[in-house]
């Protein structure tokens, strides 16, 4: 249990630090697998049919399918490295540690006394959410944004598991399916974006805005103003 949460934290820190995209995809794949294993470990032994299938399908979807799609997209668009993001890689790591501190503060702030909630898993899940959000806000590459979304979803899933929530099987599957289709669609969209725009930088996508054009409110007033 603690090993998985420590590995989760390490993987998030690695993402914050690394600039090469194909490495990032592989790290996210590992995270997917970890989260697949998590419910099995969590229920310690009495592995029901539902929990098993769920774990397996998480591992397959997040561990194998999505990374394959992402790397295919990467190969197609021929992007090698994340160019200079808003917050540099060194400072990102510093922010990572700050976020970790924040996650610890949130975890104990919630005083989850009644159920025996593994504090360390809770901290790692909150850290994953915050890291995902931070990555999404700072990185320029659209692919990185979808990966960051995946990390954030893993974090949310982690929080769910740590609060010993066992939704009915269909609902758990529904959540997983939504996340999978979401990221799959992002991949599909990335293909189109790449074909349409030569670049995949999210910060250049600023054509739709209200700044440029504006109509006069009072025609008459404008002329003789």
């Amino acid at each position: 249990m603690t090993i998985i949460s420590v590995l989760l934290i390490l993987s998030c820190l690695w993402l914050l630090g690394s600039s090469r995209l194909h490495v990032a995809i592989r790290v996210v794949a590992i995270q997917g697998v970890l989260l697949g294993v998590l419910p099995l470990v969590r229920s310690m032994g009495k592995i029901g049919f539902g929990v098993g299938v769920l774990g397996l399908s998480t591992i397959i979807s997040k561990g194998i399918l999505l990374p394959w799609l992402m790397s295919a997209c990467l190969r197609l668009s021929g992007i090698r490295k994340e160019i200079e993001p808003f917050v540099g890689f060194g400072p990102s790591l510093l922010c990572g540690t700050a976020l970790l501190g924040l996650a610890v503060w949130i975890a104990d702030r919630l005083q989850l006394t009644q159920a025996q909630v593994p504090q360390v898993l809770l901290i790692s899940s909150f850290f994953a959410i915050l890291a995902g959000l931070f990555l999404m806000v700072t990185r320029r590459k659209a692919i990185m944004q979808s990966l960051a979304y995946l990390v954030m979803e893993n974090g949310v899933y982690g929080v769910g598991v740590s609060m010993s929530l066992d939704f009915p099987f269909i609902v758990e599957l529904g959540i997983l399916l939504d996340v999978f289709v979401g990221v799959f669609l992002m991949g599909n969209l990335l293909f189109h974006l790449d074909r349409e725009f030569e670049h995949l930088d999210a910060d250049k996508l600023t054509e739709l805005s209200d700044l440029s054009k504006s109509t006069p409110v009072l025609d008459a007033a404008e002329e003789n103003a």
Binding site: V159, G160, D166, L185, P216
Partner: protein, 488 residues
């Protein structure tokens, strides 16, 4: 119970099937029949099912009854319009009128499939009684509607789709966190997150966790609903999507997100924390109306103007629910009125766009001269959406004003009226400049499929302004009681 399941599974099945149906004619036939069938199903469901459901996951209370019939009505209108729209779209590549880049449309099967899946997801979201299931359904609506937005696959719609997908998914992830916190509010250890169970235990819910959960879900679903500071994706998505899709997005999809917030507010009122949720909703409501008014004032693109007006009307809905009492009745009536009027406006905007080939309001003049029916509809829609009397929106906005004044909130009342007037002034300039005058484009006969649905919606909006049909009025009052509002 079977009826409800059918309303969800039928469009889902049709959606997946239409991906694989090659011949256009067959697929459009399927699409039309499913839409009509869905409306019939939902109307029979509303009339037959009286007893509120117990602990099933799928059930229909008066609130979801209103939204279900509204959504299927809008979908039927969008279908009739969509079939004509898709038939007229050129299959080969076409030149984007904004920046001249070449693009090819999405295959029609993806479009029809996406729309049907969207309908299925929305029906599930409306009918689901289990909050997590409702979350799954709302996330599914986002995923179903994302490919519809970049149907034209030009640069602008791709960008709009990307922003829509990222922002809504992040928002809804926050909502998922909210649901987990909601689970924590239950003290006696049961894991049942259905609405009925939560309402039973309402007295014993832990207030600290409930308020945190409410905030997370308000921000989550608020992003999806387009409340003020979280609305940034809405103008891009609704203006770049093809007209039938933006009609569905504005008319029906925003209501589903609104339903999510209503469920949480329902639990909060049952747990005795109505004022906490109410104040937040009023704050967001006023903020949305103000910001939307600011953006409408000098808007250059008339579809973005309609999108911002949706943000404003969502603000009015939130304000109405936040007030409670008479405001609830006004808010639900306004949801019905706004959906019908906004769908009509987007379809008419589609007609104007397909004739004038530009979205810039300064370049369009004399719509009434070139397209007489659409021009008349455009002005009627404008009068309806700004809440002028003969239409239903005036009745609901006036009821909300009476609710605000009944609670003696002077500042809110003044701001409310000012923002309504601001939006009116902004839209008048744009709509009148477009509608009146002599147009260079010569007059052409407008296709029936493009004109019939907006006309039907216009008649409905006018009818709602003059006479409130019996069953709708009772459903609205029951819905108001659900959230603790006063009846008459």
């Amino acid at each position: 119970m079977m009826l409800l399941l059918l309303t969800i599974l039928l469009p889902a099945a049709a959606g997946t099937a239409s991906y694989f149906i090659r011949p256009h004619r067959w697929r459009r036939l399927l699409w039309g029949t499913v839409a009509a069938l869905h409306l019939a199903l939902s109307i029979t469901a509303v009339l037959t099912i009286q007893a509120p459901p117990l602990d099933h996951w799928i059930g229909m209370d008066s609130l979801s009854a209103i939204f279900l019939v509204l959504t299927s009505l809008l979908f039927l209108g969008a279908t009739v319009y969509g079939i004509g729209y898709v038939a007229r779209e050129p299959v080969a590549g076409q030149m984007d009128f904004e920046d001249g880049s070449l693009f090819k449309n999405e295959p029609e099967s993806v479009f029809t499939g996406g729309l049907l899946l969207l309908l299925a997801a929305m029906s599930l979201a409306i009918l689901s009684r289990h909050l997590a299931l409702q979350w799954v359904a709302i996330e599914a609506t986002t995923l179903a509607s994302a490919p519809l937005i970049y149907y034209h696959q030009n640069r602008r719609s791709l960008e709009a789709a990307w922003k829509y997908l990222i922002l809504c998914s992040v928002g809804i992830a926050v909502a998922l966190l909210g649901i987990f916190f909601l689970r924590m509010t239950i003290q006696d250890g049961s894991h049942d997150l259905t609405l009925a169970a939560l309402l039973e235990r309402a007295g014993t819910l832990n207030h600290k966790w409930l308020s945190t959960a409410f905030i997370f879900m308000l921000v989550g679903y608020g992003t999806k609903m387009g409340l003020a500071p979280l609305h940034t994706w809405l103008p891009d998505a609704h203006s770049e999507a093809p007209s039938p899709v933006s009609a569905m997005l504005s008319g029906a999809l925003l209501n589903c997100a609104f339903l999510g917030i209503l469920r949480v507010q329902q639990i909060c009122t049952a747990a005795g924390m109505a004022s906490f949720g109410g104040d937040l909703l009023i704050l967001f409501g006023l903020l949305s109306m103000g910001l939307a008014g600011a953006f409408i004032l000098r808007q250059a693109d008339y579809k973005r103007m309609l999108a911002y007006s949706s943000v404003e009307h969502m603000g009015i809905l939130a304000l109405g629910v936040g007030l409670g009492g008479l405001g609830l009745f006004g808010s639900f009536l306004h949801a019905v009125n706004h959906s019908i009027v906004k769908a009509m406006l987007f379809l008419t905007a589609g007609n104007i766009l397909s004739r004038f080939h530009t979205k810039d309001t300064m370049k369009i003049q004399g719509v009434c001269d070139a397209l007489p029916i659409s021009g008349a509809l455009w002005i009627t829609g404008f009068l309806a959406v700004t809440g002028s009397p003969p239409f239903g929106t005036f009745i609901s906005e006036f009821t909300i004003l009476r609710a605000v004044l009944a609670q003696g909130r002077w500042a809110t009342a003044v701001l409310y009226v000012l923002f309504l007037l601001l939006a009116f002034v902004g839209m008048t300039g744009i709509v009148l400049r477009m509608a009146l005058g002599k147009s260079e484009v010569n007059r052409v006969r407008e296709p029936l499929t493009a004109v019939l649905p907006p006309m039907v919606f216009a008649v409905l909006a006018l009818l709602l302004g003059v006479y409130l049909p019996g069953p709708l009025a009772d459903r609205l009052h029951e819905a108001a009681q659900l959230l603790g509002g006063v009846g008459r």
